[in-house]
C-alpha cells in the first residue's frame, strides 16, 4: 500500500476546461453579464457573482426516453396505506417517481444554468473589446523616459556590449572556411617531426614534414584566430517608455438641482470608467472635484454623499482641475482622463468661459474627456438642450478626445459607456 499526498499537486487542473466552457458559452455569458450590470450595483458587479445563462448551446443531448410517453412502471419505497388496486393521482409534472425529477442538479431538462464567474473573468467579458481612445500619451516623443531594448546585433559598439556567442560563432565559421589549422593538427605534425628526427634524421620525408609545418604555421599567422570582422555587439535601441500611470478626474455638479438618483447614475458611470482605466494602466489615481458655484477637491465619500447648496458655475471645476494637474500631475508623466457628470444646468453667463477653458486648457492635456448628462427620467430627454449641452455640443465634432452623452436610466449607463469606448473601427 502506498499513501501519496496529492495536495501539493498543481491546482486548477480543470482551468483549461473552464476556459473552453466560457468560450463555448460566450454569447450567453456576455448577455447575462450585460444584463447583470444594468440591474446590480456597480460595486457588486465587479465581484464575481452567480451568473445564470440559458442552457441552449450548452446542452449535452442524449437519446433518452420521453417520460410522457408509454407505459409507466416503477417500484417505490415507503408504502404506508396503499393496498393493491388503489389508484393515486399522478403528480403534475415529471415521471412521478417522487420529487427527484424537478430541479435536477445537472441542468438537464432545465432551461437555465447557473454558475459563478470570477472577478477577472467577469471584467474580461464586461469590458471586452472596449478600447481607451488615445491610449498612449501623444506627447510620448518628447517624453524623457526611455528604456533600452535589445534590437539585434551591430558590427560596432562599445567593448562591454560584445556578444561572445555570436563573435565566436563567426570566428569559428571563418576559421573553418579558410582552413586555419587547429592546434591539435600542428601538435601532431610536430610530434611526427620529432619522431622522424629520432628515427630517420636525413630522410626526404622529414624535409617534407618540415615544409608542411612551415606552411601551416604561416597559415596560422596569416589567418587570425579572432578577426575584427568576426566581432558582433549587442545592439540596443532607446524606446520611449510608455506611461503606465493614469489619473482620472471625476467632475460633478452637486448643486441642489442634482437629485440622488442623478448622482447614482453619475457614480455608476465613474465606477465603470475607473474599472476600465484600471485594467489598462498599472497605476490609476482618482481625483474627485465637486462644484456648485465654487469647486473643490474632495474625497470619495464627500463627493458622492455630502450635500452642498449653491449656484452652478461649471468653469470653477475646470479651473480646479487645471490647478490640480499643474500641482501634482505633470502632463509628461501622466495620462489624464476626465469624466464630468451634470444635469446640464449652468449659469448662462459662464458658457463662453467654459468653452474657452475647455478648448484652451483642458482638452489639449487630457487623453479623453467624457461628459455625461444625467436626467431624472425619460421625459426630461424631450426637453430642449440644456445650457451646458449647448456649450459642449460643438466640441463633440471638433475634438476627437471629447464626447458627450445623455443618460436617463440605470440601464443606459452600460450601453452609453460601451458606445463611448468602442473603437471607431468597430462602429458599423
Amino acid at each position: 500500500m502506498q499513501i501519496i499526498d496529492r495536495r501539493r499537486n498543481p491546482q486548477g487542473k480543470s482551468l483549461s476546461n473552464r476556459q473552453r466552457f466560457l468560450r463555448r458559452a460566450k454569447r450567453q455569458i456576455t448577455e447575462a453579464v450585460r444584463q447583470a450590470s444594468s440591474e446590480r450595483r456597480i460595486k457588486d458587479v465587479a465581484d464575481g457573482e452567480r451568473i445564470v445563462i440559458p442552457s441552449d448551446g450548452l446542452r449535452e443531448p442524449q437519446f433518452r426516453h420521453d417520460p410522457e410517453t408509454g407505459q409507466q412502471d416503477g417500484v417505490v419505497p415507503g408504502n404506508k396505506t396503499f393496498r393493491e388496486g388503489d389508484r393515486i393521482p399522478r403528480p403534475a409534472k415529471g415521471g412521478g417517481r417522487g420529487a427527484g425529477r424537478d430541479g435536477s442538479p445537472d441542468g438537464d431538462g432545465s432551461d437555465a444554468f447557473g454558475f459563478v464567474l470570477s472577478r477577472e473573468e467577469f471584467l474580461d467579458i464586461f469590458l471586452e473589446d472596449l478600447e481607451l481612445p488615445d491610449l498612449m500619451k501623444q506627447t510620448v516623443g518628447r517624453s524623457e523616459h526611455t528604456t533600452s531594448e535589445r534590437a539585434g546585433f551591430a558590427v560596432n559598439g562599445s567593448p562591454t556590449n560584445i556578444n561572445l556567442l555570436r563573435t565566436m560563432r563567426n570566428s569559428l565559421s571563418r576559421r573553418i572556411a579558410l582552413r586555419r589549422p587547429s592546434n591539435d593538427e600542428l601538435e601532431a605534425l610536430r610530434l611526427e617531426i620529432a619522431e622522424a628526427e629520432r628515427t630517420a634524421p636525413d630522410s626526404r620525408r622529414l624535409d617534407e614534414l618540415r615544409i608542411r609545418l612551415g606552411l601551416l604555421e604561416r597559415r596560422t599567422r596569416e589567418i587570425p584566430y579572432l578577426d575584427p570582422m568576426d566581432i558582433r555587439f549587442n545592439r540596443y535601441e532607446a524606446v520611449p517608455k510608455p506611461i503606465t500611470q493614469a489619473v482620472m478626474f471625476c467632475l460633478m455638479d452637486v448643486s441642489g438641482s442634482m437629485s440622488e438618483a442623478m448622482k447614482d447614475l453619475a457614480k455608476r458611470f465613474f465606477m465603470l470608467l475607473y474599472l476600465f482605466i484600471q485594467r489598462r494602466y498599472r497605476h490609476v489615481e482618482i481625483v474627485f472635484i465637486r462644484h456648485t458655484h465654487k469647486a473643490e477637491e474632495v474625497d470619495e465619500d464627500t463627493f458622492f454623499y455630502s450635500r452642498e447648496t449653491g449656484g452652478t458655475v461649471v468653469s470653477t471645476a475646470l479651473v480646479e482641475m487645471r490647478r490640480v494637474v499643474a500641482e501634482r500631475f505633470p502632463v509628461a508623466d501622466w495620462n489624464i482622463y476626465a469624466a464630468q457628470a451634470s444635469d446640464g444646468d449652468n449659469l448662462t453667463a459662464d458658457g463662453p468661459e467654459v468653452a474657452a477653458m475647455l478648448a484652451r486648457d483642458i482638452l489639449p492635456i487630457t487623453q479623453y474627456f467624457a461628459y455625461v448628462e444625467v436626467s431624472g427620467g425619460v421625459g426630461e430627454l424631450l426637453k430642449t438642450d440644456s445650457n451646458l449641452w449647448r456649450t459642449y455640443a460643438p466640441f463633440s465634432t471638433s475634438h476627437r478626445n471629447f464626447a458627450a452623452r445623455r443618460v436617463a436610466d440605470r440601464g443606459d449607463i452600460y450601453p452609453v459607456f460601451r458606445e463611448l469606448f468602442t473603437p471607431e473601427s468597430q462602429h458599423a
Partner: protein
C-alpha cells in the same frame, strides 16, 4: 515527487487503539490500513488489487468530479461546465462532497479528502480500498469488460492524443467531434462479446482436423450410397458470398463503433477520437450496471470491518459513534412522499440486501427456506456473498436475491400507469401476492438494456445516397424525447457526413410509431 511513503510503523497507541485523535496522520493512516487489511484479507477473505491511497483537497475533489472521477482526462468544455456547477453547489453549501472516489485500476487508487477525520479515513479505507476494490477485481462484468491494469495508461494516451489533435486541427474541430461522440456515449458500448475473428492459422488447423476426421471415419458405403448433395451438411466458408473484411455487419447497436469504422468522410484522427470515447464508455459500462451491488458490497464490507475493529478494541467508542453516524446517513432511504426522496438509494438497498443474505445464510426463517432453498442456512455467508459479487449484476442480483424480508422493510410497492393516464394504479404491495411482481419490476428498473433506449443502425445505403437509418425499438410505447433526439441526430449526421433518418418502431409489434425528420449534416 509528492509521494510521502511512510515507513511501516505498526505499533498501536493507547492499549490497542489505532488512533486517539480526531485528526488524521500518516502514521495513523498506515496503522489503520494494516489493521483493516488484516481483517479484510485475513478474516473476510477479500481479494483486492494493490492499493494506492491519495490525499486530496476539496478543489481536487471537484476536479475529479468534473472529469468523471478519472485522475486524468482530456479537455472538453463539458467538464468545465460540470466543474462550474459542482463548485457553485459546493460553495453555497447545497451539496457536500463525497468522502472518497475510487478508481477501477490496478493499483486501485482511492482518493480521500484531507478534511476527513481519522475515523472517516478508516471508514473510507475500508469502503473504497477493500470493498470497491474487491468488487472491481472479482465481478464478472469488470473482469470481462475493463482492463484495470491499462486504464491509466490509456487515459494518459487519450489526453495527450486529443491535446495533439487540438494543436494540429484546432480546438474547434476537436470539440465538434467530442461533442458528437459524447452525445452518443451511451450508444458506444458493446453489450455482447464480439465474435472473435478466426485467424488464418486457426482456420487452417480446423480445416486439417476436419480432414483428418473425415479420413479416419471414411466409410466407403456412405460415399457410394448417399447422394453427394445431401452429404454436404454445411457449406464451407469459402463458398459464402465474399464480404469485404472491414464492413461492419448490420444491424449494429454500437453506433460509435459503426461510425468509427464506416463513416465515409472522417479523418483518421477523428476516428481515433471516437474510439477513445467508445473505450471510455465501455470502461464505465459495468459501473452503470452494478451500482446497487458495488455500493452494497463496499458498504457491507466497511460495516463488517469497522465493527470488527471496534470489537478488537482498536476503534474507540467515540470513533465508532462517528462511524455509525455517517454510515446511517449514507444508507438512509427516504420514503416516496418525503421531500428528500430521489429514487431508491443504491447504498441502502445494496447494504440491506447484503445483510439480508448474511442473515439467510446464518439464521434463515421458514420463508427464507422456501424462497432460497439453495443458500438458506448454509452457514457460509461470506462465500455466498462473494459468489454473488462475482457473478451477478444489479438486475440479476435483485431478481435472484431480493427477499420478502427486504421488501417488507422498504415497504416497496409497484405503480403502473398507461401513457397519459391521470392516475397510478398500485399494482402490487409487499404482501404474499406482490413479492414476485415487485421483485421482477424492481429488477427491470436496473436492467440497463431496458432503461437505455435500444437504438441500432439498421441501414446505410452505401451505394445510393448514403442515408444512415437508425431504428429505435420502443418498449411499452416509450418513445424518445423529441428535442433531444433531434439534437443527437444532428451530431450523428455531422459525423456520418450524409443524411440520417430515424424511425421508432414498437419492439413487440414492429409497427412504426414515429418517423423523425431526416437530418442533414451541418457545419
Amino acid at each position: 515527487m509528492p509521494s510521502a511513503a511512510i515507513p511501516g510503523q505498526a505499533e498501536p497507541v493507547d492499549g490497542g487503539l489505532l488512533f486517539a485523535e480526531a485528526d488524521w496522520s500518516y502514521d495513523a493512516l498506515r496503522r489503520t490500513y494494516d489493521a483493516i487489511e488484516e481483517i479484510a484479507i485475513g478474516e473476510l477473505g477479500l481479494d483486492v488489487y494493490p492499493n494506492q491511497i491519495e490525499v486530496i483537497t476539496a478543489e481536487q475533489m471537484l476536479d475529479a468530479y468534473a472529469s468523471i472521477g478519472m485522475p486524468m482526462m482530456y479537455n472538453h468544455w463539458s467538464f468545465g461546465k460540470h466543474f462550474a456547477l459542482n463548485e457553485m453547489l459546493y460553495r453555497k453549501g447545497a451539496r457536500g462532497l463525497a468522502y472518497e472516489i475510487v478508481i477501477n485500476s490496478s493499483p486501485c487508487i482511492s482518493y480521500i479528502m484531507e478534511d476527513n477525520s481519522m475515523a472517516m479515513q478508516a471508514l473510507v479505507t475500508a469502503h473504497a480500498a477493500f470493498g470497491h476494490n474487491h468488487f472491481f477485481k472479482n465481478n464478472n462484468l469488470f473482469r470481462q469488460w475493463t482492463d484495470a491494469e491499462a486504464i491509466l495508461d490509456y487515459m494518459q494516451f487519450a489526453k495527450s492524443y486529443i491535446a495533439r489533435c487540438e494543436e494540429r486541427h484546432g480546438a474547434r474541430a476537436v470539440e465538434r467531434v467530442l461533442d458528437a461522440a459524447h452525445a452518443l456515449m451511451d450508444h458506444g458500448v458493446n453489450r455482447y462479446q464480439r465474435k472473435r475473428r478466426v485467424s488464418l492459422k486457426d482456420a487452417e488447423t480446423r480445416a486439417r482436423a476436419r480432414l483428418r476426421y473425415e479420413e479416419e471415419t471414411y466409410n466407403d458405403v456412405w460415399q457410394r450410397t448417399v447422394p453427394p448433395d445431401a452429404r454436404r451438411d454445411r457449406p464451407e466458408t469459402g463458398e459464402q458470398p465474399p464480404r469485404p473484411r472491414d464492413l461492419v455487419p448490420l444491424p449494429e447497436e454500437n453506433i460509435l463503433y459503426f461510425l468509427e469504422k464506416m463513416a465515409p468522410k472522417l479523418e483518421p484522427w477523428q476516428r481515433e477520437i471516437l474510439r477513445i470515447v467508445r473505450q471510455l464508455a465501455q470502461y464505465f459500462y459495468p459501473q452503470k450496471q452494478t451500482k446497487v451491488m458495488n455500493e452494497g458490497c463496499a458498504t457491507y464490507v466497511h460495516y463488517r470491518i469497522m465493527n470488527r475493529l471496534h470489537e478488537k478494541g482498536m476503534l474507540s467508542d467515540g470513533g465508532m459513534l462517528e462511524f455509525l453516524h455517517s454510515h446511517s446517513s449514507v444508507i438512509f432511504q427516504p420514503d416516496f412522499d418525503d421531500e428528500r426522496y430521489s429514487g431508491i438509494n443504491p447504498y441502502a438497498l445494496g447494504f440491506e440486501m447484503m445483510c439480508d443474505i448474511q442473515r439467510i445464510c446464518e439464521r434463515p426463517t421458514g420463508e427464507d427456506r422456501d424462497w432460497f432453498p439453495d443458500i438458506a442456512g448454509n452457514g457460509d455467508a461470506m462465500g455466498t456473498l462473494k459468489d454473488a459479487w462475482a457473478n451477478y449484476r444489479d438486475e440479476s442480483f435483485i431478481l435472484q436475491f431480493l427477499s420478502p424480508t427486504v421488501m417488507r422493510r422498504f415497504k416497496l410497492f409497484r405503480l403502473c400507469a398507461g401513457s397519459g393516464e391521470p392516475e397510478y394504479l398500485v399494482d402490487a404491495i409487499h404482501n404474499e401476492r406482490g413479492y414476485q411482481k415487485i421483485r421482477k419490476a424492481l429488477a427491470r428498473r436496473y436492467d440497463v438494456a431496458l432503461q437505455d433506449p435500444n437504438i441500432q443502425v439498421t441501414a446505410a445505403d452505401l451505394e445510393g445516397d448514403r442515408t444512415l437509418v437508425l431504428r429505435h425499438e420502443a418498449i411499452a410505447g416509450r418513445l424518445l424525447d423529441k428535442g433531444e433526439a433531434a439534437a443527437v441526430l444532428q451530431h450523428v449526421a455531422n459525423l456520418w457526413g450524409y443524411p440520417v433518418a430515424m424511425v421508432e418502431v414498437d419492439a413487440a409489434g414492429g409497427q412504426t410509431l414515429r418517423q423523425h425528420d431526416k437530418v442533414v449534416p451541418r457545419g
